[in-house]
Symmetry: C2
DNA sequence: AGCGCTCCCGTGAGCGCTCACGGGACTGCT
DNA sequence: AGCAGTCCCGTGAGCGCTCACGGGAGCGCT
């Protein structure tokens, strides 16, 4: 019952030897009691357990980990846990890791690319592998992860690392096809506000659009927030009032656009159809529910963990072609 | 450049001694090179670094942790990362932990109370402290966390553990006051669907309601989902068509109610005012934006980490009265 | 009595690393 | 030449734990 808390004085760590001495046995016997091993008398075992409890003993995970090489800890690095997409990815990774009994240390870089390197440096000496969504150049990544399995998420270009690729080409094509079938001919896109070049999702959009013989130049960059989506939509409609449908970089932007459309008095989907990307659960909460090119985030997490497992065990790693999550059009109320 | 991956054969761990041998120095010199210590020639240092890289050496966190007692890892146990409230709590805790250079291992029990014990058992030998939202009885908690600092979140009754208390009394009072000021007299509540007794939030509501001289008996239990909120609202309105305002257990339920109200053709807030609880960021995404009794989740996370720090260092712990996060009415479009 | 067996328990070794110390080689000074 | 001082580098010890082994005590059997 008495848990001796360190009261300002030297909180010397209680070791297995202290317990052994207190119980009048050897450290090995203590170890046996604690780990539920066989070769121990049940009376002795209870005595040891009591002593351990009385002293407030807790085994050192370091010492144990040093001798038993079984605990696996992987680091999950994401830009922003509050971004629902990454929340879903994280939840999926946690779930997949749990089935293997792995620990997951989560690092949120707060959308600051410069934090990535610091995080990576810390991480590199704390985990057995890394799963993450990085924006820093590959060379930097490589520098801090020497010899450690790394699985990237949503990295567009092929790298020397494993990467779970997100392929939305077919899904976006289906989305545009759907809009065209509904009679839309003027379709805009609210892209992600990247520095220079448009996103790969924009590429998918333009290919799909031209394949359907419609103009694909109606693009406005948007901040990756609901507000960003809203103002981008306003901007788009101001320049091109004849636009009747928009495809967005992701669901957050789409939801912002949805909200803005309502404020502008445009009914959805009659006067403006909206299709997002990601397929967040969140999309079902807004009204009307969001049509989206959905990603299977659970599969994404499972794939990442699976690949880490293979890299770690030296098994044959999954080929790049198997590490793909494809977007799939999920029809709902907004288009 | 060559990173010798374990190719099916015995993936023997490369130790500091291997690097030392390869570089023709002692292990201590290797340690010096890797840890950026002083007493080493820069040429030697480079040679060691090259050797380490060539061998794909990565220091063992266990061995390092065993001798340097500085890395702190805390476990964060939450029922469901996909529940936005817990996402915010987790993000806040991560942020607060980061400023201290602590690692955070996240465990998602998937809303299954029986998982809590298993998780706790694993956790108890893997982290230095636990922050979590548990539903299991205190006695069970105690059994698995002997001698380990534990900080609970939102635990209603006082326990022998530290707990960050959520006090919504004043906020809920303000919410009811606001509704009354708007002329509402028939105010319902969509409570959390607990087993037996109503939630403490419901208590706050009834006290606030009776204080304003209005009937507080209009309660319907709801699943903690948007759909749950929707059907609970439908049920409430079916039984009591004269209800013009609802207070909900949390924002998710409120958002579901909002959606359902729209479907029923009730305009918000004119024909139905809705006030939620939690103050999720999510509330700003729906239309109209949600009025809510908001919790400062960042403060919640910071408090939890702060308390853990004190428990860990043996400093004087924060008193229960300081470990309170108070709900505050945040007015928005829905009421 | 002697053997083998089971049931407990303890001892040495070692996991991979860092800390404290010691000591050689070289410099510059008296 | 002799000495202190600086700059490197290596050696023992030990962090706290588990594994492999050895061995004593007690039993029943031939």
């Amino acid at each position: 019952m008495v848990v001796p808390s360190a009261t300002g004085t030297e909180p010397r760590k209680i070791t297995i030897n202290d317990v052994a001495k207190s119980a009048g046995v050897s450290r090995q016997t203590v170890s046996r009691a604690l780990n539920d091993k066989d070769e121990i008398d049940s009376v002795t075992k209870q005595r040891v357990l009591d002593a351990a409890r009385a002293l407030g003993y807790r085994p050192s995970r370091f010492a144990r980990g040093l001798v038993r090489q079984d605990t696996m800890t992987i680091g999950l690095v994401i830009p922003d846990l509050l971004n629902p997409f990454f929340t879903e990815v994280a939840a999926a990774a946690l779930e997949a890791a749990r089935t293997r009994g792995w620990q997951v240390v989560v690092y949120d870089t707060g959308d600051r690319a410069e934090e990535e390197l610091g995080t990576l440096q810390v991480i590199s000496s704390q985990v057995d592998a890394v799963i993450g969504y990085f924006s820093c150049p590959e060379s930097e990544l490589e520098k801090f992860t020497r010899g450690m399995p790394v699985v990237l998420i949503g990295r567009e270009q092929r790298t020397r690392f494993s990467a779970i690729q997100i392929d939305g080409a077919a899904g976006v094509h289906a989305a545009v096809a759907h809009l065209v079938a509904q009679g839309h001919t003027r379709i805009g896109m609210l892209d992600h506000h990247t520095r220079a070049e448009p996103s790969i999702r924009h590429e998918w959009f333009t290919t799909a659009a031209t394949a359907h013989g419609i103009e694909a130049g109606l693009m406005v960059p948007a901040d990756q927030t609901a507000d960003g989506g809203g103002s981008a939509l306003r901007e788009l409609l101001a320049d091109h009032p004849d636009v009747t449908a928009v495809f967005t970089f992701n669901d957050i932007i789409a939801i912002g656009a949805l909200r803005e459309a309502r404020r502008l008095g445009r009914s959805i989907p009659q006067e403006l159809a909206v299709i997002g990307f990601d397929g967040l659960q969140l999309g079902a909460l807004v009204e009307p529910p969001l049509t989206s090119v959905a990603l299977d985030t659970r599969r994404l997490g499972a794939l990442a963990i699976e690949q880490v497992a293979r890299l770690l065990s030296g098994e044959e790693a999954l080929a790049a072609d198997d590490l793909v999550v494809r977007g799939e059009l999920r029809l709902s109320g907004s288009a």
